[in-house]
């Protein structure tokens, strides 16, 4: 019986699809409307991801890249990590989508359709680096709980949208505003409609930056569903959890936003350094703002074997949160000596920068190529793990690849 029912349903469904969508509403149907099989067993197909992406969690979806998948200067969707806190919302319609503004510090509550945002405000495009605050968590000792990200929870795509600042000015913000907090359409894992999976935000100073966007496009197309279709707050250089996906409301607050995952150990680190494993009181934790300086060798993939005398061309990206990367170095002797290599200027503020080098090895054997970036304030990546914190954030230790010669 099951099978019969299935066939009947399938027949009906395909016919409805033929009738309803292709002919009558073909011109108004949102590109992203899929009768979502979110339980589909093939997430690579479902999210259009490279098969070499690594699934850390399937409920909620958390998928990361490997270093060599991030070789493109502008990260394509296929290599972009997914970090979800809740369940991906279904049946999203960009034509009826609205973004509401409320909170203690708005002069009036106001709401905009995406079309209104597009027509009322100037559109801007920036390449923005988004890195998960917990990227590199897997290396901390004692281990920190949460998704065990290695190195692939970072991306730098082109985002197109309107400036949050322009819209806030149109809404009208009271002088006592200190923070904005986002709200979104994703649902809590417990399915409890009264709990938000995540609702974070930024201080007004970050909200008012030129590059902080209400984005409706990624890499020149509609934002993929898993990355926040149809509207996403994008604030480059800060933990990517600040860049709320499926954005439908922004609260302008007269206090530090107190939404879900703004307190406790979430996206917070000890205000003062602690010993590994130390218990940290709530009031001694501070919210992470700019991400630290970091770099990745994206070519070649770790494990390259070269012939004697063959030189190696490496390349990769470096980024430094709110800052620019000022210097790039590599070492083939575990940091005993470092060589400078050229680092390109960013295409715009908060975009990652590219480096490359040609390396000659003195003799046959096993090598590791370590990369180290230094930011505009002279702060470099550490070779060992940086300060331990309860949730394992901000691991910006040098990336390295293994190479064998001869």
């Amino acid at each position: 019986m099951q099978r019969r029912k299935f066939v009947q349903k399938a027949t009906l469904a395909s016919m409805t699809a033929l009738l309803g969508t292709d002919i009558v509403f073909g011109n108004t149907l949102p590109d992203h409307y899929l009768p979502l099989g979110l339980q589909d067993p093939d997430p690579f197909k479902m999210f259009n991801k490279n098969k070499e992406m690594v699934i850390l969690n399937d409920k909620p979806w958390n998928i990361e890249a490997q270093a060599h998948l991030l070789d493109d200067k502008i990260t394509p969707n296929s290599a972009m990590f997914i970090r979800n806190n809740g369940l991906v919302p279904e049946d999203l319609d960009a034509t009826t989508w609205t973004l509401a503004f409320d909170g203690e510090s708005v002069k009036q509550s106001k709401s905009y359709t995406i079309q209104e945002l597009k027509s009322k405000f100037k559109t801007h495009t920036y390449q923005l680096t988004l890195e998960c605050g917990g990227n590199g968590r897997s290396e901390f000792n004692p281990p920190a709980n949460g998704n065990q990200w290695t190195i692939g929870a970072v991306s730098s795509a082109k985002w197109t949208g309107v400036r949050l600042r322009d819209v806030l000015e149109d809404v009208g913000v009271k002088p006592d505003a200190v923070y904005i907090g986002y709200h979104a359409a994703d649902t809590h894992l417990s399915q409890n409609p009264n709990t938000e999976p995540i609702s974070r935000g930024v201080p007004m100073s970050k909200a008012m930056q030129d590059e902080t966007l209400l984005a409706f496009q990624m890499n020149g197309a509609d934002i993929p569903l898993a990355h926040g279709y149809p509207l996403r707050l994008v604030a480059g250089g800060w933990p990517a959890s600040v860049s709320g996906k499926w954005l439908n409301r922004i609260s302008v607050r007269n206090i530090v936003h107190d939404g879900e995952k703004m307190d406790g150990d979430s996206y917070r680190v000890p205000c003062e350094p602690v010993a590994p494993g130390e218990e940290v009181e709530d009031e001694e934790m501070c919210i992470i703002e700019s991400m630290p300086v970091k770099s990745l060798i994206t070519y070649p993939k770790s494990g390259a074997m070269l012939k004697e005398g063959q030189s190696l061309n490496i390349r990769g990206h470096a980024w430094a949160g709110e800052l620019e990367v000022a210097q790039m170095e590599y070492s083939i002797d575990f940091g005993a000596t470092w060589k400078d290599c050229p680092i390109e200027k960013p295409v715009n503020r908060l975009a990652w920068q590219h480096f490359s080098a040609k390396i000659d090895f003195p003799k046959n054997g096993y090598y590791e190529v370590w990369a180290r970036a230094t930011d505009a304030k002279g702060v470099s990546q550490p070779m060992v793990l940086p300060g331990w914190n309860p949730k394992g954030y901000l691991n910006n230790a040098c990336h390295r690849i293994a190479v064998k010669i001869g």
Binding site: I23, N145, N147, G303, K404
Partner: protein, 154 residues
């Protein structure tokens, strides 16, 4: 009449025509389907097909692994599956290597913020299961590169 109305009127005509065509197709499809497959329920073939459909025994264990979740089959498995995999993936449980104290703290956090219910006597059983089967590994300040996938680079 505006362009849009014209479009609507003509598309309605097409729409009606297509409904008729599709209803006919659906009816004949069902008839053909029943004629061809109506009796297969009693066939031996059908039984095979049904096993693939119902092949989702939630408690199946293969090679010491609970197939549905990937968790190790050991005392406490059932309690862990029942309480720890209905909200999030078991992958999240397996990746996290913690001692008993931190597991208890994590459970408190989930109860406080993530709507986890009181675990009662099961809490000790679950934490025992986790620290026995997924013990923490000491990684030092930086681990050696492991599992390097060697290949020739030309």
């Amino acid at each position: 009449m505006s362009e849009q109305n014209k479009f609507w009127k003509s598309s309605r005509r097409i729409y009606r025509f297509l409904i008729v065509v599709c209803v006919l197709a659906l009816v004949s499809g069902i008839v053909i389907f029943y004629l061809n497959y109506g009796d297969t329920d009693t066939d031996k073939n059908a039984e095979n097909e049904y096993t693939t459909f119902s092949d989702d025994d939630p408690d199946r264990i293969e090679d010491g692994i609970h197939v549905r979740t990937g968790l190790v089959d050991a005392p406490g498995l059932q309690e862990t599956v029942n309480n720890c995999t209905s909200c999030h993936s078991a992958k999240l449980v397996m990746q996290n290597r913690m001692g008993a104290e931190r597991w208890h703290a994590t459970i408190r956090w989930m109860q406080k913020t993530q709507n986890l219910w009181p675990l009662g006597e099961n809490e000790a059983i679950i934490v025992d299961y986790l620290v026995t089967n997924y013990p923490p590994k000491s990684k030092g300040r930086r681990e050696t590169l492991a599992d390097v996938d060697w290949y020739e680079l030309r």
